[in-house]
C-alpha cells in the first residue's frame, strides 16, 4: 500500500481506512455455505444460475427437436411443448441472466471494483442468495407436480394462464407465481446491497466518474430492477389471487368448457400493462451489465482507454430512464389507442440513440487499438456484432405498422434471442473468461475456450439468423407442429431441421465450457494477480483470489480512472487505478 501524498490532497484528513467491522466466519459452514462474504455468495449465485440454466438449455433442445423433426419424437406432445417454451423463457430471462449478472457478477465485482471490503449489509446479502435458491427450487419442483409446469408462455398472460385448457393449470402456475414472488423478495435484498455499496462504500478517490463501466452498468440495472420488479410482484400476487381465491382482477367473464366461469369483468390488458412495465426494463436490466462488461473487456484487451467515457455513463443513465416509458410497445397487437402506439413507437426509437452512441464508442475504442484476440475479446466482439444485429431488428419491431404483421412470428423469436439471448450470453462468457483468473487464480484453457467461442458464435448464428427469414415467411411462433400450410414452402422445413442440428451442436459446446471451468480449476495455468494487465482495482488485490476483506490492512486509494492504457511515457502499458501520479513518486511517497 502507498502512503498518502498529503500535498496533493491538502486540507483533507488522512483516509479513514482500517477499522471496518468485518464479519468473520468461524466454521466451515459459515465460510463456504452460509457465508456472508460477497465473493462466496457470487459463486453460489453463479453456480445455481448455471445449473438451472442447463435445464433451460435442455428444454431448448427438446423444442428444437420437435420443430426440426415434427412427428419424429412422439414423447413431445403439444402440452409439453408449451411447457418447454414457458420454462425455457422464464428460466433464461429471470433465473439465469438476471441472477447471473446482478447476483453473480454484481456480488463479485462491485466490492472489488469500488475498493470496498464487502457489501454493506452482508447478512441481508446472504439471505438474498438463500431466498433465490428457494425460488429456483420451487421453480424446478414444478416439473414434478401433478400436471407439470405451466405452459402459459413466459409472459403468463391471463386469462389463458389460469384456465383449464392450459397445461400446468393445477399446480404449475401456482408454483411459478410463488417462485417469482420469492425471486423478487430475494432480489430486493441483494439489490439494496449493490446500490448502497456503490453509493457509500467506494474507497477514497473513487468518484462516480472513476467507476469502471461494469459498475455503472450493474448499478443502473440494479436501480431499474428494484423499481421494475415490484410490477411483476403486483401482477403475480393478483394473478395468484385470481387463481386461488377466484377474484377477478384480470379475468373477464368467459365460458370455459361450455360452462360460465366464476370470473367476471376483469381486465387482461391490466396484466399486460403491469407485466411489461416490468418486462421492458428487464431487457435493459440484462443488457446494461452486459454493456458495462463489454466496455471493460474491449478496453483491456485492445490496450486502449475507453472512447467517450462520459458519453458512455450518460448513455447508461439515459437508457435506464427511457426504458421505463416504452413498455407498451410489447402490446401493439393487444389493441390500443393509435396515439398511444405512436407515443410508444417514438420513445422506443429514441432509445436507439444512446444505444448507438455506445456501439460507436466501442468501435472507436477498437479503432487503432492494440487488439489482442484473446477469448474474452472474441466474445466481446461477438457481443457487439450480435447486439447490433438484434438492435436493428428491434427498430423494425418498434414501429407499429411493421410490428403488426411480424408479431407472433419467428421473426420476434429471432429478434429477442439475438438481442437478449445471444448478446448477453456472449457478455457472460466474455466476463467469465476474463475474471475467472481473479476468482480462482488459474487461467481457463485457451484452446478449449476458442473452440467454445467459435462453435457457440457461429452455431448461434446458424440457429437464429435463418429464423428471421422464417418469420418473414409468416411462420408462427409457439406452434407445436406447423403441419401443411400454403405459405410455408418445403425448404423452410429443411431450414428448420438445419437450425435444430445447429442448436444441438451449440448446446454440446456448452458442455465443453463446463468441463473447462472444472478442469482449469485444478489444472489451469497459474494466472498471477493481473494476467491481462488491467488497470481497474479488482486486479490490484494483494492476494489472488482475493482474501477475506479483499484488501490488506488498508483500503486502496484511487488516483485515476480505470482506463489508463498505453499512456505515453508510462513505464508499463497500463497504470493501475491505485498508482499515485508521477509527481508524488518523485517526492518519495511511494515505497
Amino acid at each position: 500500500m502507498v502512503d498518502i501524498p498529503f500535498d496533493t490532497i491538502a486540507g483533507i484528513p488522512p483516509a479513514e481506512v482500517g477499522e471496518v467491522e468485518l464479519y468473520h466466519p468461524k466454521s466451515w459452514w459459515t465460510r463456504y455455505v452460509f457465508s456472508q462474504d460477497a465473493k462466496v455468495i457470487a459463486i453460489q449465485y453463479s453456480i445455481t444460475a448455471m445449473a438451472i440454466g442447463m435445464v433451460a438449455l435442455v428444454l431448448s433442445w427438446l423444442m428444437r427437436l420437435q420443430l426440426g423433426f415434427p412427428g419424429t419424437f412422439s414423447f413431445i406432445d403439444p402440452n409439453q411443448y408449451l411447457q418447454f417454451i414457458t420454462m425455457h423463457g422464464m428460466i433464461m430471462v429471470i433465473y439465469l441472466l438476471t441472477a447471473l449478472f446482478l447476483g453473480g457478477f454484481g456480488n463479485y465485482l462491485i466490492p472489488l471494483m469500488v475498493g470496498a471490503r464487502d457489501m454493506v449489509f452482508p447478512y441481508v446479502n446472504m439471505l438474498s442468495y438463500w431466498v433465490y435458491l428457494l425460488a429456483v427450487v420451487v421453480l424446478a419442483s414444478t416439473f414434478f407436480v401433478p400436471g407439470g409446469p405451466t405452459g402459459a408462455g413466459w409472459t403468463l398472460y391471463p386469462p389463458q394462464a389460469i384456465l383449464s385448457g392450459t397445461p400446468g393449470q393445477d399446480w404449475g402456475i401456482i408454483f411459478m407465481l410463488t417462485s417469482l414472488i420469492l425471486f423478487i423478495i430475494g432480489f430486493t435484498m441483494g439489490g439494496l446491497n449493490y446500490v448502497v455499496t456503490v453509493l457509500q462504500a467506494r474507497t477514497r478517490g473513487m468518484t462516480l466518474m472513476r467507476l469502471p463501466l461494469t459498475v455503472w452498468g450493474i448499478f443502473t440495472a440494479t436501480v431499474m430492477a428494484l423499481l421494475a420488479f415490484p410490477a411483476l410482484f403486483v401482477a403475480s400476487v393478483m394473478l395468484l389471487l385470481d387463481r386461488l381465491l377466484g377474484t377477478s382482477f384480470f379475468m373477464p367473464t368467459l365460458v370455459e368448457m361450455g360452462q360460465l366461469t366464476k370470473y367476471g369483468g376483469g381486465s387482461p390488458i391490466l396484466f399486460q400493462h403491469l407485466f411489461w412495465f416490468f418486462g421492458h426494463p428487464e431487457v435493459y436490466i440484462v443488457a446494461l451489465p452486459a454493456f458495462g462488461i463489454i466496455s471493460d473487456l474491449i478496453s483491456v484487451h485492445a490496450r486502449k482507454n475507453i472512447f467517450g467515457y462520459r458519453m458512455m455513463v450518460w448513455a447508461i443513465v439515459a437508457i435506464g430512464a427511457l426504458s421505463f416509458v416504452v413498455w407498451a410497445h410489447h402490446m401493439y397487437v393487444s389493441g390500443m389507442h393509435p396515439y398511444f402506439g405512436f407515443f410508444f413507437a417514438t420513445t422506443t426509437l429514441i432509445i436507439a440513440i444512446p444505444t448507438a452512441i455506445k456501439v460507436y464508442n466501442w468501435v472507436l475504442t477498437l479503432w487503432r487499438g492494440d487488439i489482442h484476440l484473446t477469448v474474452p475479446m472474441l466474445f466481446a466482439l461477438a457481443f457487439i456484432i450480435t447486439f447490433v444485429n438484434g438492435g436493428l431488428t428491434g427498430l423494425f419491431l418498434g414501429n407499429v405498422v411493421v410490428d403488426v404483421p411480424l408479431s407472433d412470428t419467428m421473426f420476434v423469436v429471432a429478434h429477442f434471442h439475438m438481442v437478449m439471448g445471444i448478446a448477453p450470453i456472449m457478455a457472460v462468457f466474455g466476463g467469465i473468461y476474463h475474471w475467472y483468473p481473479k476468482v480462482t487464480g488459474r487461467m481457463l484453457n485457451e484452446a478449449l475456450g476458442r473452440f467454445h467461442f467459435w462453435v457457440s458464435f457461429l452455431g448461434a448464428y446458424a440457429v437464429f439468423f435463418p429464423m428471421h427469414y422464417l418469420g418473414l415467411l409468416g411462420m408462427p411462433r409457439r406452434y407445436h407442429d406447423i403441419g401443411e400450410t400454403a405459405f410455408v414452402p418445403a425448404s423452410a422445413h429443411d431450414l428448420n431441421a438445419f437450425m435444430s442440428v445447429a442448436a444441438l451442436i451449440v448446446g454440446f459446446a456448452q458442455l465443453v465450457f463446463l468441463f473447462n471451468l472444472i478442469w482449469s480449476l485444478f489444472k489451469g495455468r497459474e494466472a498471477g494477480g493481473n494476467p491481462w494487465g488491467a488497470a481497474s482495482l479488482e486486479w490490484q488485490t494483494p492476494q489472488t483470489p482475493p482474501g477475506h476483506g479483499n484488501w490488506g490492512k488498508e483500503l486502496p486509494l484511487v488516483y485515476r480512472w480505470a482506463y489508463d492504457y498505453s499512456v505515453p511515457g508510462a513505464t508499463r502499458d497500463f497504470v493501475p487505478q491505485n498508482e499515485p501520479p508521477a509527481g508524488s513518486l518523485a517526492q518519495g511517497a511511494q515505497p
Binding site: 490532497i9 483533507i12 468518484t207 377474484t247 377477478s248 403491469l274 488516483y559
Partner: protein, 234 residues
C-alpha cells in the same frame, strides 16, 4: 398507469438532482490524484443503513404506486361496486398516527440520551401498531360478516389485498422494532440505538403516509383525482 408514472417521475427527479451533484461532466481521463467527492464534502453524510432504508422505501413506494395504478384502472370497469368503508378504519388510522407519534417521541428521547424515554416510546409505538393490525383484522371480519367477500367484487378484492399488503409491511417493521426494543432493553450503546430508533421512526412515518393515501383511495375521497389522472392518459 398514471400513478406509477408520477411516482417514477418523482424518483427520476430525486435521482437527477443527486446525479447533478456528482460532477458527471468531469473529465476523468485528465484528472489524477485523490480527488474528493460529494460524500467527503458533506461531512454529515448519511450512514449506509439510512440510505439502504431510503432505497427500500423507494421500492415499497413503487409497489404501492403500482397497486394504486391497478386499482384506478380496474375501478373504471363496469362491474365495480364500491364497498362501504367500515368506520373502524378511522379508529385504526388514529391508532397508527399514535404509533408514529410514539416512535417520533422515542427518536427525540434517543437524541436526548434518555434511555427510559426510548423504551417507553418504542413499546408504545409497537403496542399501538399491533392494535392497528388487530383493528384491520376486525375490519375484515366486519366486512365479511356484512357479506363483502374477497371474491364477490373487485372493489372488495382490492380492499383486502391492499390492506393486507400494508399490514404485511407493518409486520416486517414490527420485527425490526422488536429487535430494536430488545437492544434498548439490554442497554445497548446509545449512539447505535439512536440510528436504529430513527430508522424505525422513518419507516413508520412512511407507512403512515402510505396508509393515508390508501385510505383516501379506498374511501373514494380521491376519486376525482384518479379521474383527472386517468384523463391525462386517454
Amino acid at each position: 398507469m398514471s400513478a406509477i408514472i408520477l411516482f417514477m417521475a418523482g424518483i427520476a427527479a430525486i435521482a437527477g438532482w443527486w446525479l447533478s451533484q456528482q460532477r458527471l461532466a468531469a473529465k476523468p481521463w485528465l484528472e489524477q490524484g485523490v480527488i474528493t467527492d460529494w460524500r467527503e464534502e458533506n461531512p454529515s453524510s448519511l450512514p449506509p443503513a439510512k440510505i439502504g432504508l431510503g432505497v427500500f422505501l423507494a421500492v415499497v413506494g413503487s409497489l404501492f404506486a403500482l397497486f394504486i395504478s391497478a386499482y384506478s384502472m380496474r375501478m373504471s370497469m363496469v362491474d365495480w361496486r364500491a364497498l362501504p368503508v367500515p368506520r373502524l378504519l378511522w379508529f385504526n388510522t388514529g391508532v397508527l398516527v399514535t404509533s408514529s407519534i410514539a416512535l417520533q417521541w422515542a427518536h427525540v428521547a434517543a437524541r436526548r440520551n434518555d434511555m427510559d424515554g426510548v423504551i417507553v416510546g418504542l413499546c408504545a409505538g409497537g403496542a399501538s401498531a399491533v392494535t392497528f393490525l388487530v383493528g384491520q383484522l376486525l375490519a375484515w371480519q366486519q366486512l365479511s360478516v356484512a357479506g363483502y367477500f374477497v371474491a364477490s367484487n373487485p372493489a372488495n378484492s382490492f380492499f383486502y389485498l391492499i390492506t393486507a399488503m400494508h399490514g404485511l409491511h407493518l409486520m416486517g417493521g414490527l420485527v425490526a422494532l422488536g429487535r430494536t426494543t430488545a437492544k434498548a432493553w439490554r442497554g445497548a450503546d446509545m449512539t447505535r440505538m439512536r440510528l436504529s430508533v430513527e430508522l424505525c421512526a422513518i419507516y413508520w412515518h412512511f407507512l403512515l403516509l402510505v396508509w393515508l393515501v390508501l385510505l383516501g383511495l379506498l374511501t373514494g375521497w380521491t376519486d376525482d383525482f384518479v379521474d383527472i389522472c386517468r384523463q391525462l392518459l386517454t
